[in-house]
């Protein structure tokens, strides 16, 4: 009976891994150039890291893989990491908490996260994430967004669409409307689905809701002018909302000045509850390939001092199908005509070639038909012959390893 792979998991085949490494390498290289240092958090964390109010919501927590450890008689559950940001924040607090002189910490990671999904969904997903702890709000948000876009650009996954919204604004609207808790969830669902009329109905009787909700959440726009317009329109009736729009404005202005195209759609989905400021979602076509935002309140929730923070993650599982398979690196075949006696010579030659930078594949079961340069090795009467064929199909025969190396150095392939 063949044991199939676990439902919701995937096998990463060689072509997948080639694209996976391309994403990972591109992300790591660019993040390093922005000053981000790579970290890795454990796959297992205490569940209560994620149950702290305001981190993950109950629906998300209900899909976390958690269990009692072999010494878990106290009932303390551990969880397979369901999110990259919260463990990174925990790592920061536990190991890198800045002294008074350290203002900003930039961290990045490539990690998997786990969450239960139905039969069609993937339960293990990989992320490239970057977190910027401390520093100026607008500068940090803009830097993270530019880094994310630059990675996607380098990957040539396709035209990237940036959509911006603002968690602080949404929360301010909810505070103004002061909806009953049982209505709030439906209200958000309608907003996110673009059903502003239904949302207005739920906010029935609230001053200015019928006028302002469609303006705030029913219009998709671009440029800081829209944000200024909304701030002006909301200043009188809903000053708290206007305050959040004023807070959002510098980021829109900065991105416009940098000629980085973006769309503003303030009814983007709710995401994690820990977000407090600008939110950005990254799309290639209809595929959401990344997202992130500002989470200034997270660190105090998990036991740290208040600290401004922001981050993003690129979704590797979503990105993978959008990428071309990188071309195979040029390599060389070593073919053994006489596998018994020629084998030691083949291993010695392979080591020498690898030291010179070649990728060498030993073939003991016949010649594979391809255009790679090849060296066939045979031994007879104590004499070793190396039959050579380069990438252009030219043949030669030499009698020692140094001659093979010399011939390959000068080979046009």
């Amino acid at each position: 009976m063949l044991v199939p792979r676990y439902r919701g998991a995937r096998d990463w085949l060689p072509a997948d891994m080639a694209r996976f490494r391309r994403i990972e390498d591109t992300f790591r290289a660019l993040a390093a150039k922005y000053g981000y240092q790579e970290v890795r958090t454990p796959t297992l964390e205490y569940l209560h890291l994620f149950t702290a109010a305001g981190t993950l919501n109950p629906d998300q927590l209900a899909r976390v893989y958690s269990f009692l450890d072999w010494d878990g008689w106290s009932g303390e559950r551990v969880a397979l990491r369901p999110d990259g940001t919260i463990p990174t924040a925990r790592l920061f607090l536990e190991n890198l908490q800045p002294g008074s002189s350290l203002h900003t910490v930039r961290l990045c990671y490539v990690e998997n996260v786990f969450a239960f999904s139905n039969e069609l969904g993937e339960r293990e997903r990989w992320q490239c994430g970057a977190e910027l702890l401390g520093g100026d709000e607008t500068a940090a948000d803009a830097e993270l967004l530019l880094l994310a876009c630059q990675v996607l650009g380098r990957l040539e996954a396709g035209p990237v669409v940036v959509r911006l919204s603002h968690a602080g604004l949404l929360k301010a609207v909810l505070r103004v409307l002061d909806l009953p808790s049982e209505t709030e969830s439906d209200f958000l669902d309608h907003l996110i689905a673009g059903h502003t009329t239904e949302a207005v109905r739920l906010a029935d009787g609230q001053s200015e809701a019928a006028r302002l909700l469609p303006l705030l959440f029913g219009v998709e726009a671009e440029g800081p002018g829209f944000v200024r317009n909304l701030a002006t329109l909301t200043a009188e009736p809903w000053p708290e909302v206007a305050g959040q729009l004023e807070r959002f404005l510098p980021l829109a202005e900065t991105l416009t000045a940098l000629e980085r195209p973006y769309r503003i759609h303030l009814a983007l989905d709710r995401g994690f509850e820990y977000y407090t400021g600008a939110l950005f979602h990254l799309y290639v076509g209809d595929v959401r390939v990344g997202g992130g935002g500002r989470y200034d309140d997270l660190l105090p929730l998990i036991g740290g001092a208040p600290l401004a923070a922001s981050g993003f993650a690129l979704y590797m599982n979503a990105l993978l199908p959008l990428l071309q398979v990188p071309p195979e690196a040029g390599d060389l075949r070593l073919i053994l005509a006489d596998r018994g006696r020629a084998l030691p010579h083949a291993f010695r030659l392979a080591d020498a070639l690898r030291a010179e930078g070649w990728a060498v594949t030993l073939q003991v079961d016949g010649i594979q038909a391809d255009s790679h340069p090849r060296v066939s090795i045979e031994e007879e009467g104590g004499v070793v012959r190396y039959r050579l064929r380069d990438g252009a199909g030219r043949d030669s025969v030499v009698l020692d390893q140094d001659a093979v190396l010399q011939w390959l150095r000068t080979s046009p392939s």
Binding site: M1, V3, H48, T51, A52, A53, G54, P58, L61, A62, L68, W70, D71, G72, W73, S74, G75, E76, R77
Partner: protein, 492 residues
Amino acid sequence: MATDVPELRIALPKGRFQEAAARLLAPLDLGFIGEDTRNYRFASQRLPGLSAKLVHEKDIPVQVALGHYTLGICGREWVEEVRAKYASPDLVLLQELPLGRSMVYVAYSRFGDPSWEALRARREGDGIRIASEFPNLAEAFALRERLRRFRIFPLWGAAEAYPPEAADLVLVAVKDEDALAPAGLAPLAPLLEASACIIAHRPSLSRRDLAPVLEPLLTQLALRQTANDSLLSFAPDGELSTVLPNGDEAPSGVRLALPDGSLQGVVTAILDRAGLLPRGYAAPLVTRRPLSPESGLHIKVIRPQDMPLQVANGHFDLAITGMDWLEEHRARFPFSPVATLADLGNFGRSQGGQPARIVAVVHGDLPATTVDELRDSVRSWRRPLRIASEYVHIADRFARQHHLAPYRVIPTWGATEGFLPDDADLLIEITETGSTIARLGLRIIDELFHAPGRLIAYKPSLDDPQKGDQMRDLAQRLVTAREAMPSVRQAL
């Protein structure tokens, strides 16, 4: 004329709803008369193809969701307990029944903190401890309440015994809110209104005509309701025991847990002979906190299944339980700080005085007389071996150690013999004489271990200079008393 119903199975509840269910099902001629029975299987004389099996009520929602049964009758609270964790699309509620109406409450001790807010503020940093027979509902509650940190203690019962010393919150099913106060509990929130119900396997409901079964059942229900049948309006059993304050959440001295249920008789006899019998312990049980005969000894009565975990958490220094439950705990937590302090001998009541033992059992029709032969059979199957047991972790360890892959362990709450052969291939069971196993046409293929009574201890307390000596002295008195006793059967 008999209507043919192709292969339709009903899961009937063993226990509190058994007689009422028998009355409702009478028109189906299942031969299920509702009295306590060792017979688990019934076949309808009226509807060929319709059969029924007696299953522990708590197991019925899972068995129906898996499609092992088309219909089932059980308490709604057990349906919701399953749904709280596994939103099975294959389980559908057909009909509420006016049986055993109850409310599931979240409650805390009346004798601890003055309010839930005070309790939460004091305990949340270390983790709010929630003890319950409904661990999934408890977890859903904790998540919904956004508790920053919590710990769930799954129980076999007697949740009211735990607060405030060993739990901060409990989830309990009671007739109404008034039942909480005598049990020493204050309500925090009503979670769920429950009564018995008929549930169905959703795919079967959507594909098959169940009317030949449902129509007579619902007609009978209407008739019985019209006739004011008292069986259809009884209150839930499992009334909470009275809990009086002891005034001290962390009493000094030794904390001893005594078992309720089937072990109560033999333990009463041992304690009596040792001069340690607390007032209020001897059956019928009147309190979860019987009065200790000695100063410096604090006693609570809980389920023997729950004792090792409670001792491991330091909620008790000593507990009297069976080796089976100690091993079940050790199989789950191999590094647990629970030690065996004394062997209290055979607790079995059988005529021949045979010791209780844990055995591996298959159906007589299975061509396997040893575990090796079973393993060879499993290799040719196109599905996993199904192992049913109350001892989930012993069963899991047994399967691992004997390389019975692939396998699945089906947790049960009792009446496990009824699982063979349709719903399981192997049982890990406790038996004394093996006569019930033989009578049901089952076969023992391995004996895992003997399961005598044990006095277990919390290791750190044994190392405590004050408590350690007192614990060892109590152990010696119990052992001396047990050795001086005739067989359990005679002693009782």
